[in-house]
Amino acid sequence: MEPETVPQRDVLMEVRNITLRFGGVTAIEDISFDILEGEVRAIIGPNGAGKSSMLNVINGFYHPQEGEIWFRGEKRKAMKPHEIARHGIARTFQNIALFRGMTTLDNIMTGRLTKMHRNMFWQAIWRGPAEREEVEHREVVERIIDFLEIQHIRKTPVGRLPYGLQKRVELGRALAAEPKLLLLDEPMAGMNIEEKEDMCRFILDVNDEFGATIALIEHDMGVVMDISDRVVVLDYGRKIGDGTPDVVRNDQTVIDAYLGVAHE
């Protein structure tokens, strides 16, 4: 994707002057950036820079003391995480947060929960509306299963799956919600090179085929530079760089603080 197409896109989310404190510790200090419709936006920075906290703020798990978030042109009110999920933000987690007691299929079906509405009465009867709804959503989920190439583990409890597949199932669960904005917290952490390549392919395909905007945290610089359109760099809770991979790569502050001078 060429960087020059970037300016023509609409802004999907804008983060303005966010400050987040835990007691006396400031995790994020006065950070602003935007995420454009349809782009892959990376958030990078050393450990403890506030990257995961930033994702947690975006999906409403942490409530920042200051600042505002604009999503799809509106200022977001204070909401619970589950309400934010209903507004089209889905995510994966740094340490896999799958539902270990359930099968792959059921895990991905939970991604559809926000879109299923049959009440308890119909659920209890099952035959009829509830069953039709179930089949409808099952079809969507099966398409995702095909896309992620995990048909063979459809009915395996996820607790038994190897790490790489669990990561993939988690991506599937987030995709099932058909999010406007998909947050990926270190999607490739702990993977070997082949698994990373697969995951990169899935992420780019998700971006292309499902049209989801992606914000991701990643430590593997090679991956970040390859797949992202623009990069935000955080360090000690502050923003120290923002721009296309090329710009960031050559930014002296970023090099000093993060990549290290010796790297060059």
């Binding site: 999906n59 798990f61 799958l98 539902f99 359930m102 049959r118 099966e142």
Partner: protein, 358 residues
């Protein structure tokens, strides 16, 4: 080689998500249902009814109820006895206040009342988790039993403080009171258990069940993917209490016909149902039934062996029984924390491959 899904191809998602996907399981299920409805009513006698069959059916319902809360939604409750008491006293008040009301409706309404009470006591689950919640449910247990002991309105100011179920019948057959025949009470309870078990299964396999399980497995992740924690937890409390309330109502109206709160609905009752759920298998419908059967049969078998076989004093036999039950709980938790239901599914796996070892 006989028991497997090979050759039984599923051509639609509808077929794939049915309750018993394997054809042999379906036969077994229908066969057992046929025996339960068409054979047992003709051979059941008083002893079997009061000592084995009714206890099994009533406790199966209570175990399904607790399993929904603890096994599927991950909320540990020690208040089962108290909620059974709510069902029992609700049915008593309804029966005496509205003598015309059909007994089926009475029992369903009792479940509804218990569901409301359960939701109320479930409110703390929004702020507190795990063991803290378990202790909080003890508040419900002790408070409810105290309430039914101390407030005379609940037992209609009777001198003994006991409640006694008046006679009610459906289709001309008495199902409560001294005139009720074993076959009638059995079929009455069986009908409730069958319908309610199917309903529970339907709830569990669909949207609601998945919300419960997601909260159980990882509540934070569940909330972030869009499961509202409050609605989900309260719905688990409501459905669970509904089942436990109906179990309490049947316990009082059909099985015993009379009750007194401290003995019948004390904390030991809570533990008994919890043991059923653990031994049967947390998060398994089949487990609820297996656990109930196990805990109902165990004391009877032990007593027959010790008192009948070896002439042991009943008091002593009781002590041995308590020790053994405790040991068995520990044994099960060590050997198979997922209970009898898991053992059954392992056996089925083996059968699928039989006669090959792998």
């Amino acid at each position: 080689m006989l028991y497997r899904e090979t050759g039984d191809f599923k051509v639609s998602y509808r077929d794939d998500q049915q309750t018993f996907p394997i054809i042999q399981d379906r036969w077994l299920f229908w066969g057992m249902l046929a025996v339960a409805f068409l054979v047992i009513p003709f051979i059941i006698d008083d002893y079997w009814e009061k000592s084995i069959v009714l206890p099994f059916l009533v406790f199966s319902l209570a175990a399904i109820g607790l399993n929904i809360l603890t096994g599927y939604c991950g909320l540990l409750s020690l208040g089962t006895g108290g909620f059974m008491a709510v069902g029992a006293y609700a049915s008593y008040k309804l029966m005496t206040a509205f003598p015309e009301l059909n007994i089926v409706i009475v029992i369903l309404l009792s479940g509804g009342v218990t569901a409301a009470v359960g939701m109320f006591f479930g409110l703390p689950s929004l702020r507190i988790k795990g063991f803290y919640l378990a202790v909080a449910t003890l508040a419900a247990q002790f408070f409810l039993v105290w309430l039914f002991n101390k407030v005379p309105w609940f037992y209609n100011y009777s001198a003994t403080g006991q409640i006694t179920a008046p006679e009610r019948s459906i289709f001309g057959f008495a199902v409560t009171g001294p005139e009720a025949t074993p076959a009638a009470t059995y079929l009455f309870c069986l009908a409730f258990v069958t319908v309610l078990a199917l309903v529970a299964k339907n709830l569990i396999r669909g949207r609601i069940g998945r919300s419960w399980m997601s909260i159980r497995d990882m509540d934070i992740a569940a909330e972030i993917i869009g499961v509202p924690p409050m609605r989900t937890k309260l719905s688990a409390f409501a459905v669970s209490s509904f089942y436990i309330g109906i179990a309490g109502a049947l316990y009082f109206t059909v099985w015993f016909g009379a009750a007194e709160p401290t003995e019948a609905f004390g904390i030991n009752q809570s533990f008994l149902v919890l043991f059923m759920v653990i031994i049967g298998g947390l998060g398994s419908m089949l487990g609820s039934f297996l656990g109930a059967a196990f805990m109902v049969l165990l004391p009877i078998v032990l007593k027959n062996i010790m008192v009948g076989g070896f002439d042991v004093l009943p008091v002593l036999a009781k002590h041995v029984e308590i020790t053994l039950v405790g040991s068995l709980i520990i044994f099960f938790l060590i050997v198979e924390p997922h209970g009898l239901a898991r053992l059954w599914s392992i056996a089925k796996e083996k059968m699928r491959l039989w006669p090959f070892p792998h």
